[in-house]
């Protein structure tokens, strides 16, 4: 089974970060969630088995109240410890 992984960079509306986080933690197939500084607020790493699931997942994130913008970066190759 191949695994498709992706980073999703998320911008949230001011004041909504806490509630977006709460909802994001409930989503399936999320590997990690990081709150970061800079022009994006959240970086979420996900792992799904097919591209269609990735679409469903991004849909789910976009439906969270307070999410202003998402940018999905599908991982083509990864080296890690």
């Amino acid at each position: 089974m191949t695994m498709i992984k992706a980073y999703i960079l998320i911008k949230t509306r001011v004041g909504k970060l806490e509630s977006v986080l709460k909802d994001a933690k409930k989503i399936e197939n999320v590997e990690s969630i990081s709150v970061v500084t800079g022009d994006v607020d959240l970086i979420i790493k996900v792992g799904v088995s097919k591209l269609e699931d990735l679409m469903k997942l991004t849909d789910e994130i976009q439906l969270i109240d307070g999410v202003k913008q998402t940018t999905t970066h599908v991982i083509e190759k990864e080296i890690s410890l």
Binding site: K25, E28, V35, T37, E76, L81
Partner: protein, 420 residues
């Protein structure tokens, strides 16, 4: 629905500390067994006999526990409560064999040495602190293997842990034993390093694309360790004309239930330890496990009710021991809590080969993962360092010298959750 219930960092501490509580209990049991065995055999013999029976009986007991864990309950294996990656006992895969051989050899060396020390020095609270010095060895090995040079903080805290361990261990009778100390430092600790590094590699290995589980790793480790211990004993018997193998078999039968008890408990301690290894770096896991020093004192006190162990009478000795423990705990806390994580989002100049670029970024120390991605950016790297200054000196500067990067952004991570 799977939700991220617990921050990985905390789960890591829970697992590592549980493992150390359990193992301090087994050290107590080990001491009782060694002292019982000493009534029948000489110290040299005890270490080999206990070593052999521990692994031989340990393998049997762990396989039994493993089979019990393989039972399905509500469509889930019972063992998945302890390690979610567990899917029943299985044979080892070819890619695991090499690591298992090294881990088994490490375990054989460290355990026989440890039993030898116990037979010379029947006091768990004096022996266990020396195990903690292993953190220094691990730091050195990680520097070489995981391309991670120790920072001042790592150096400081491991020195504090080591000094604390020494203070904690010399105090109980007031003197320092040279032979056990040398065996601990030269035989037991290097063996442990070998064991923990290869167990970590095994845990991070993904046979068939699925994460490896700690229960199978432990069972197979016992199998290979038994083989190594038997081989060591046979070589000795052959060269020195001793009769250790026969005595070991006899001892295994005579002390079957006691050894089975301690190895049964040890099984859980190890499974938790291997899980913790899969979550954190080996030196940090060791650091947390240093809390065993704290639990070894009540264990020693309880034990002294059953077998003769000299308990310090003077308040000065107690003071030294407590100072040692405070140092160990302080060292661990500063070690484990100082860390900075960041993402670096990179855009490449057109005409650059991305595969070369990710190799170049991967070679920077402190880089935990690099991914070539499709989207607004070309590469997303994750870095983990001790201080922000290191982030500039070690990462930004190196990044700027790599050709082919047109733009990058540093995103410091404020808080992080990981699904475990």
């Amino acid at each position: 629905m799977i939700s991220i219930r617990i921050r990985r960092k905390y789960l890591f501490y829970v697992v590592a500390i549980l493992s150390s509580i359990i193992s301090s209990i087994t050290v107590g049991l080990d001491t009782i067994i060694t002292s019982r065995m000493s009534a029948f055999y000489s110290p040299d013999e005890v270490s080999w006999i206990f070593g052999f029976s521990a692994f031989f009986i340990g393998f049997l007991i762990s396989t039994l526990i493993g089979s019990f864990f393989s039972i399905r309950l509500n469509n889930r294996r019972i063992g998945s409560l302890i390690d979610p990656a567990f899917h029943g006992i299985r044979l080892i895969k070819r890619e695991e064999l090499k690591y298992h051989l090294f881990a088994g050899m490490g375990n054989a060396i460290t355990t026989v040495g440890y039993f030898y020390v116990l037979s010379l020095l029947p006091d768990p609270s004096a022996v266990t602190p020396f195990y903690r010095v292993v953190i220094l060895y691990l730091l050195i090995v990680e520097t070489i293997v995981e391309k991670n040079a120790p920072t001042l903080i790592e150096f400081q805290s491991s020195t504090i842990v080591t000094l604390g361990a020494i203070l904690g261990s010399i105090s109980i009778t007031g003197d320092i034993e040279v032979v056990p100390l040398a065996v601990m430092l030269l035989i037991v600790n290097p063996g442990w390093v070998l064991l923990s590094i290869y167990q970590r590699k095994l845990k991070l290995l993904k046979p068939d694309g699925k994460p490896n589980d700690s229960i199978n790793i432990r069972i197979w480790n016992l199998f290979f360790t038994t083989i190594f211990v038997t081989a060591f004993i046979l070589i000795q018997d052959f060269i020195l004309g001793t009769n250790y193998l026969a005595k070991s078999l006899e001892g295994s039968i005579r002390f079957f239930w006691l050894v089975a008890l301690t190895m049964g408990i040890t099984f859980f301690s190890y499974v938790l330890y291997i899980r913790a290894l899969g979550m954190g770096k080996a030196s940090i896991t060791e650091g947390v496990r240093a809390s065993i020093v704290i639990f070894s004192i009540p264990v020693t006190l309880i034990l002294s009710l059953f077998i003769p162990i000299p308990i310090p009478q003077s308040p000065a000795l107690w003071l030294i021991k407590i100072i040692g423990i405070i140092l160990v705990v302080l060292g661990i806390v500063s070690f484990a809590l100082t860390q900075v994580t960041a993402y670096i989002l990179v855009r490449a100049t057109p005409g650059t080969r991305i595969s070369d670029l990710i190799e170049n970024i991967w070679n920077i120390r402190g880089v935990e993962s690099v991914a070539a991605v499709a989207g607004k950016y070309d590469i997303i790297a994750k870095v983990r360092i001790r201080t922000l200054i290191k982030g500039y000196e070690r990462i930004i500067r190196r990044l700027e010298s790599i050709p082919g990067i047109s733009y990058f952004e540093w995103k410091s991570v404020l808080k992080e959750w990981e699904n475990v």
